[in-house]
């Protein structure tokens, strides 16, 4: 799908007749149907992927078939409506959040212009409140007294195929970033709504390939990329060789090694493609520098969890590998790499779903003796926490001038910021590895940070224009510091960001690169026995 030229899109965002620019639709939102055309939807899941997942124990992905969102007939099961309403009833009984969020909204509109999808598309159904109303109207109609008695007068509407299509459209134009939930006076979290909508859609076989294929891969090969054990190892070995070429330091790393003290898990994207590769090199150098006794795993070779974007059962099944592997290898605890949604799962779901991890020990840094009490139960430490502690105790020999080619800013990823509270640790690290990094405007950072626009499995190319639109608020804030402070590097602690922000910068702010914080750490490290070349671009230098 061709993406609009920058000038066209820049103009369209500001001047196109949309809710965000001042136009008001003539029709009531209930009378506007979702129309699917190339470029405005992510491709449907392939039949064989759905079949494979449905065959896995504990998972339920029915109605595998050939279909297309552009078709009139979605080949839903005959009793699809019954399945959806029953599914909704079950989820109301299982999630208090859903019930309360269905009942309490007063439609004050505080969330309306907080969504990056709304700001970039101007589509009123991308106002978080209206996205929730897509489900709430059905809830009212079938589950509340007012709706049952008064129907449309009380804001209810009948569940129809058109409604289902609308759900598909807008639950895949939400990245579950939770920014709206920060501003809501009742803390209504659209991520919860989107999660439920996607769960319901899977009950009738409606899902996207960019999510279900990585989920299948992750289940079978251990990672989203589908890297088999030998390939995964090759990729990491290759990075180790690169480090040796650049710095003269030989990296000692291992795979699936029993008896290591620490299991290290990071998103597989870090060992797969630029610019994540440089972040992975940063990890390897850091662990080498401090002599950590750790191992990688090819079986649990994925930190990310696209299961979070399908349903809670799948999330649990994929996540289960982390503890299973930690137990098999007999490690003491786990360190996790930089990733956004991975850390939402680790921080808020893992212990509940797959704990208690009583076979592990409370994480304690072997170099500094610091006990990570905040991870006392889950036994998994974030690389930024681990690194910040090392720096604080003077265990790293850092030379900021090795990052002199970098003028950095920092992007808070949605999940670490709003589902974890990991905000100042990466900043502490930046303070010690780069000179004079700058913050973006205050309404766009920390808990108010803007999503990259492509999270929750929406980082697929067929919806590139949509991604460039929804990423605009983030890109725009970066542009602000580029213009003001000549920033040339957008640092972050998320693997999806590293991929998606790169596309976003190339589009809106060419010349600004993207990196993981650990890459900047790797750049600045002064390692023992190094025979370092002149690295004018740090680990990215071509020699």
């Amino acid at each position: 799908m061709a993406v609009a030229k920058l000038e066209q899109l820049a103009k369209s965002v500001v001047q196109g007749p949309s809710m965000a620019t001042g136009a008001v639709p003539v029709k009531d939102w209930m009378d506007v149907s979702a129309i699917f055309k190339p470029g405005n939807y992510a491709y449907q899941a392939k039949q064989e992927k759905v079949e494979y997942l449905n065959s896995q124990k504990g998972l339920h992905f029915p109605n595998a078939r050939e279909w297309s969102p552009e078709d009139e007939d979605w080949k839903l099961p005959e009793n699809w409506k019954e399945i959806i309403l029953k599914g909704l009833k079950e989820r109301l009984e299982k999630f208090r959040s859903l019930k309360i969020f269905m009942d309490c909204c007063v439609r004050c509109g505080a969330c309306a212009d907080k969504c990056h999808f709304f700001l970039g598309t101007g589509d009123p159904k991308n106002m978080p409140v209206l996205r929730a109303e897509l489900l709430r109207s059905i809830y009212r109609n079938d589950f509340t007294l007012g709706g049952k008695l008064l129907g449309k007068m009380a804001g209810g509407r009948e569940m129809t195929v058109a409604v289902l299509k609308e759900w598909f459209m807008y639950s895949y134009q939400c990245t579950e970033c939770r920014r709206c939930s920060v501003f809501c006076p009742y803390g209504i979290d659209t991520a919860e709504i989107t999660i439920i909508l996607r769960e319901l859609l899977h009950l009738v076989g409606v899902g996207i390939n960019w999510i279900l294929e990585p989920v299948s891969n992750s289940n079978r090969t251990g990672n989203h990329m589908g890297l088999q054990p030998h390939t995964f190892k090759d990729n990491v070995d290759f990075l180790a060789d690169d480090i040796e070429n650049l710095t003269g330091v030989k990296i000692n790393h291992s795979f699936n090694r029993k008896g290591a003290e620490v299991l290290f898990i990071t998103p597989s994207a870090d060992v797969f493609a630029e610019p994540g590769l440089y972040t992975a090199m940063g990890y390897l150098m850091l662990f080498e520098h401090i002599g950590l006794d750790y191992t990688w795993s090819t079986y649990a070779s994925e930190g990310g969890n696209f299961g979070l974007f399908t349903n809670n059962e799948t999330m649990k099944k994929l996540n289960g590998k982390m503890y299973a592997e930690a137990k098999r290898l007999g490690v003491k605890y786990i360190i996790g790499g930089e990733c956004g949604h991975m850390w939402r799962v680790v921080h808020q779901y893992m212990d509940t779903m797959n704990g208690p991890a009583d076979f592990l020990e409370v994480p304690k840094s072997p170099m500094t003796g610091t006990t990570f009490h905040n991870a006392a139960s889950t036994k998994m430490v974030h690389i930024s926490e681990f690194t910040a502690d090392l720096i604080k105790h003077g265990k790293l020999n850092l030379d900021k001038s090795r990052n002199s080619h970098v003028k950095a800013t920092f992007h808070d990823s949605c999940n670490p910021a709003r589902a974890m509270g990991l905000i100042d640790e990466p900043r502490y690290i930046l303070d010690h590895v780069v000179d004079g990094w700058v913050e973006m405007p205050e309404n766009t950072i920390r808990e108010q940070t803007f999503c990259c626009g492509s999270g929750t499995g929406l980082n697929t190319d067929e919806i590139m224009e949509l991604r460039m639109r929804s990423g605009l608020p983030r890109a725009n804030a970066v542009k602000h510091v580029i213009d003001k402070h000549a920033v040339n590097m957008l640092s972050c602690v998320c693997a999806i960001d590293r991929a998606t922000l790169t596309s976003l910068m190339n589009y809106w702010n060419p010349g600004c690169d993207v990196c993981g914080v650990s890459e900047l750490v790797g750049n600045a490290l002064v390692m023992e026995g190094e025979n370092r070349q002149e690295l004018t671009e740090g680990l990215r230098t071509l020699v």
């Binding site: 439609r107 004050c108 009380a154 804001g155 030998h230 905000i423």
Partner: protein
């Protein structure tokens, strides 16, 4: 037309009470039966809704963190925005419930050529919501004097403060003016703010018009139609209602029955509407949970132990040859695995 519809509905309600209460014998219905019924629906409905919410578990720990979480010694935790302890959660909830903390963050975004997006602080909604809710609360408290004999000192003191400006005779209550002001703002923005206008339902206009009419009839009674009503009879009726010995005296004007009937409608409507946000705000999991899910295990009552990861054994079986070739340790060597097969 939704906004107009709510007016029609309330006008109909006013007519019902205004005319109905004037039919001989119907005063008992409007003065005694309906108030009891409304209270029963309100209390019963409210309790039912809370119990119904409480019946659904909170399977996962999902607080929205709005500041730095607890971490290393040298990283300062934002205890109010990212609480870990129960006391900190209570402080967060206190700010949310009494000062509308989250609404205070509100910003207004604007798109400019470039494109350039700007975000400006916008506290009007926060301010008028506070004005509306606190005025309403004080007015409800002031009305308690009708149900209590003798009137407690706090209530008299409250009245004194409320009418301290000493405007008019009887002295005007500040809360009356503020309530109307707040309602007019909340209603006005539903008509003028395009985002809010597009999302507003009957369910949003109706309570505003209803409360506005309640306030208006109350004000009319106190300041303008005093001769039509007998305050002693009203107090006797109110006191009789709470002591379960209601008496309908003569000379209670239609305006009072309209006021009372609209209050009854509000009470009965309350538990079945969005007004339940009053209860829901206490129970919202993104606000009332501690951000301690890595240090303390949260229990999901329906967690399914049967959902297990694709096993390592199955994984190794599929990739054993590759692993051995690549020098990755395996549980079963190739020969052993072949023997078994």
């Amino acid at each position: 037309m939704k906004y107009a519809f709510s007016f029609l509905a309330v006008i109909a309600l006013i007519l019902i009470a205004g005319l109905g209460s004037q039919i001989p014998g119907m005063q008992y219905l409007f003065g005694v039966v309906l108030p009891y019924l409304a209270i029963m629906l309100f209390v019963g409905g409210f309790v039912y809704r809370i119990m119904d919410w409480a019946k659904s578990p909170v399977p996962f720990s999902i607080p929205t963190t709005c500041g730095q979480g607890v971490s290393l010694d040298f990283i300062k935790q934002d205890k109010l925005e990212c609480p870990t302890k129960t006391s900190e959660v209570m402080a967060r909830m206190f700010l949310e419930i009494f000062f509308f903390r989250s609404l205070f963050r509100n910003t207004k975004s604007e798109l400019h050529d470039g494109p350039k997006i700007t975000y400006e602080s916008s506290k009007w909604l926060w301010l008028f919501s506070l004005i509306f809710h606190y005025s309403f609360l004080l007015i409800v408290l002031r009305h308690m004097r009708f149900f209590l004999e003798p009137v407690p000192f706090v209530l008299s003191a409250l009245e004194g403060i409320d009418s301290m400006l000493q405007i008019g005779q009887p002295a005007m209550y500040l809360t009356d003016a503020f309530l109307l002001l707040g309602l007019m703002f909340l209603y006005g923005r539903r008509l003028l703010n395009r985002h809010v206008k597009y999302i507003s339902l009957n369910n949003d206009y109706f309570p505003l018009v209803l409360i506005f009419s309640i306030a208006l009839t109350g004000i009319l009674m106190r300041y303008f139609l005093r001769t039509d009503i007998d305050i002693i009879n009203i107090k006797n009726l109110a006191y009789g209602l709470v002591t379960f010995s209601p008496v309908i005296g003569a000379k209670i004007g239609a305006i009072f029955y309209i006021h009372l009937f609209l209050v009854c409608v509000l009470l009965a409507y309350f538990p079945f509407s969005k007004l339940m946000h009053m209860g829901g705000v206490f129970m919202s999991p993104t606000r009332n949970m501690a951000n301690n899910s890595r240090s303390k295990r949260h229990i999901n009552p329906w967690n399914d132990p049967e959902i297990k990861p694709h096993s390592y054994a199955g994984y190794e079986d599929e990739f054993r040859e590759f692993m051995v070739d690549a020098g990755i340790p395996v549980e079963k060597e190739l020969t052993a695995a072949k023997d078994e097969a």
